[in-house]
Amino acid sequence: MATKQKIIVVGNGMVGHKFIDNLIHHPDYENFEVVTFSEEPRLAYDRVGLSYYFAGKTADDLMLTSGDYYDEHGVRFIVKDKVITIDKAAKTITTASGRVESYDKLVLATGSFPFVPPIPGKDQDHCLVYRTIEDLEAITASSKVSKTGVVVGGGLLGLEAANALTNLGVDTHVVEFAPRLMAVQLDEGGGTLLRNKIENLGVGVHTEKNTKEIVAGETSRYRMNFADGSFLETDMILFSAGIRPQDELARQFDLEIGERGGIVVNDSCQTSDENIYAIGECALWQGRIFGLVAPGYTMAKVAVSHLTGGDEEFKGADMSTKLKLLGIDVASIGDCHGRTEGSLSYTYSDDKAEVYKRLVVSPDNKKIIGAVLVGDVEAYSTMLPMMLEGMDIPGSPEAMILPTTEGAPALGVDALPDSAMICSCHDVTKGDLVEAIQGGCHELGDLKSCTKAGTGCGGCAAMVGQVLNNELGKLGIEVNTDLCEHFEYSRKELFDIVRSKDINTFDELIESHGTGRGCEICKPTIGSMLATKNNEYVLTDDNISLQDTNDIFLGNMQRDGTYSVVPRIAGGEIKPEQLIVLGEIGRDFNLYTKITGGQRIDFFGAQLHELPVIWERLVNAGFETGQAYGKSLRTVKSCVGSTWCRYGMLDSVSMAVNLELRYKGLRSPHKFKMGVSGCTRECAEAQGKDIGVIATDKGWNLYVCGNGGMKPRHADLFASDLDDETLIKYIDRVVMFYCHTADRLQRTSVWMDNLEGGVEYLKEVVIDDKLNIGASLEADMQKVIDTYECEWKATINNPERLKRFAHFINSDATDDNLAYVELRGQEKGRIMTDDERERAAKGEEIIVTEV
């Protein structure tokens, strides 16, 4: 192609961005020039995840792209400028600011706008909608001066908005025109259960209410008068009564529009003008608008295909959904109302467990055509592909909704065809996963990072795990989880054995469940497990030989064989007198001293024989071991929070100190760190820690499994607005569950990436206590807390152990292999060069030289 085709994308929402991103990754991208306009002040962000904004995510966290990314790929972008005219003949557009751009192809990705029913009084100050980040900012501001709030609309978006209002501490009501909630996705049984559950959460539900007018209220700011004569008083109103396609531009410039709105498109997503495409929620295909992101993404793909000479077609989309609303799991698949002629349906309902399931099958009783799941949506990931692929139900249909009992038929992923969609967020099919597995992704974490499957909403994570296990089985690849040559068990299996059989020494375990004498892999692993279980002193005769390099001398061995010394400074809080003591010790032992990233002080260059003397002084001054050498809790980093900071919501230092003192001494599969921030500015970088805690105006938000280091991972939001007690209960459970189930030397981030079911599963275990182990996890943690002793204090009081802290067993001489060089006014240890060693052997004095 001689000149580049110029594409203008109107609207930089999720779908507009997806179109651009797909084009960027197309092999023919060099033949295109792309310009995009956004009416909003920022580029595309995750509108589906908008509610996370209330859980502490910032606008930046929600961004799907960046100016840098577009710059890098030559995409021109203009924000805060609305396209207002199209000249189809001249192939140009004009913007509100007067900018004129020509195009070869125009892509309309203008999305939708919230439908606000034409109710008199709807345009008042505290009558808002829920669509953009700016809307959320307005809602937050309004909530601060409102006691009660009403959401108009009991559909999916309405309930999400209700969730947001309750999170903001507003007494929330939902007003719905239809006789039940989520009338599109749920049948009567499902809707009723959902209503009960929502009412139990304290949210008022008012169905069959037609709002006539909004007038000034008597007890609140407004009064909503309903057609049936009743009324409701409220301080704010959120309209969430559905969406309407944003088709104004197309309408004005004579593109074909559907009767009830929407830009008519064909199977290639072209509008009535062949040079203009429409994709996403603004497009009307066969009389339908698709108000979900996945079909929008498919349209983006189809449009890119058509532009580049491909033949992909839009064939409609499945509108099945699974989501959590106000903490309640809800899913809807296909023809959930059983409207198909001759269809049969099965219903299961359990009032005690608050579960409702309905399965709709084909007239021949063989295929799934729809389902409603409330309270327990586990079957969704099996049912959906079965319906989409038209597969026969294995066994009897009722088995699909009955509670799982022993011997129930397993509904394997093996039966799914390669075309089955596993991850709809990232458009990953079973075939894509199989290809990646065959290409070498044999671990869940690898598979997820390579295909992106399971990294969107996470709903398919368990399914991805099942596909992996199934494929590995087929490839004949046995995943060897043996700990080492001495134990044919994984760490988790060994931990189960140690706990269930109450095994307390390495010898006992290797004699009963292993072979040989153990090695540098199994010994420290089992030493750590026994320490988690019993919290005994690690240097007893039974334990000492299990300790690795650092633990055996309770210090971090450095490259020259000297050690570093790190006392605990809980939460980073330290008295000036303690700082003076530390300074004196560093000076007296000539230790290279540095402040660590974890808000404490590290002394380097202590020789083996010096450790007990240094620690005796530290212990006498009231310090404890910081266990910087252990696979254990390191530090709990904090910002000053409400004690000093103008923005602090809660006392983050006190919480950090409490957490550090609570979990100090716990030995774990790998080191773990925590952080506590006093507000969402997040100065303690808690989201980069294994356990992160951030204060909100209503309590603590808990984040889990973050990591800095080599492969940074943002922690996942685990629970919001917790009180102190619940926060600590959850942390006890999460950390102990990690200790019990992680692999050796597996940080929480990798553990999470490999956890089948991901963070949702962890929530079920910890919050819902689905394995019924919550109390025992807490009891195990309590035992560790109750039996804590500073192991350095124990050591300096143990003359037998102190004997080992000498370089030679038969001489007071010290290691003659060490030389020192000056570094910015401190001495840094290093190993002698060969030449220096020869000269030293002849009795020469080795002069320290500058590097």
Partner: protein
């Protein structure tokens, strides 16, 4: 052959090592627990270039007793000083015995 006592047998902790200064050399001495046998090799780790082997962990590699270097975990055979991963970095083994409750190294 003459011998020098470096420590008492009871100074050793099963399945760990100590370091002795013998004829100007640093010698790592280990007590292997299952056989209750004492071994001696050089304390110098030629890969990490530090005097630390006595502080390593005793590892059974396919039935052969070794010490895993505390620095970078290469295995040195207790009986011979051979380095399993990098044989060119093998270390010297010393003759050692337990006599009347005393651990003795052979003099050169």
């Amino acid at each position: 052959m003459s011998w020098t006592t470096v420590c008492k047998f009871t100074d050793l902790v099963a399945d760990t090592g100590v370091c002795a200064l013998h004829e100007g050399q640093q010698v790592a001495i280990f007590l292997e627990k299952s056989e209750q046998k004492v071994y001696a090799i050089s304390n110098h780790d030629p890969i990490g270039k530090a005097n630390v082997l006595s502080r390593g962990l005793i590892a059974d590699v396919k039935g052969v007793f070794t010490v895993a270097s505390p620095l970078y975990k290469q295995h040195f055979v207790l009986a011979t000083g051979e380095c399993l991963e990098e044989p060119e970095h093998s270390v010297k083994a010393f003759e050692v015995r337990v006599q009347d409750g005393e651990v003795q190294l052979a003099n050169s």
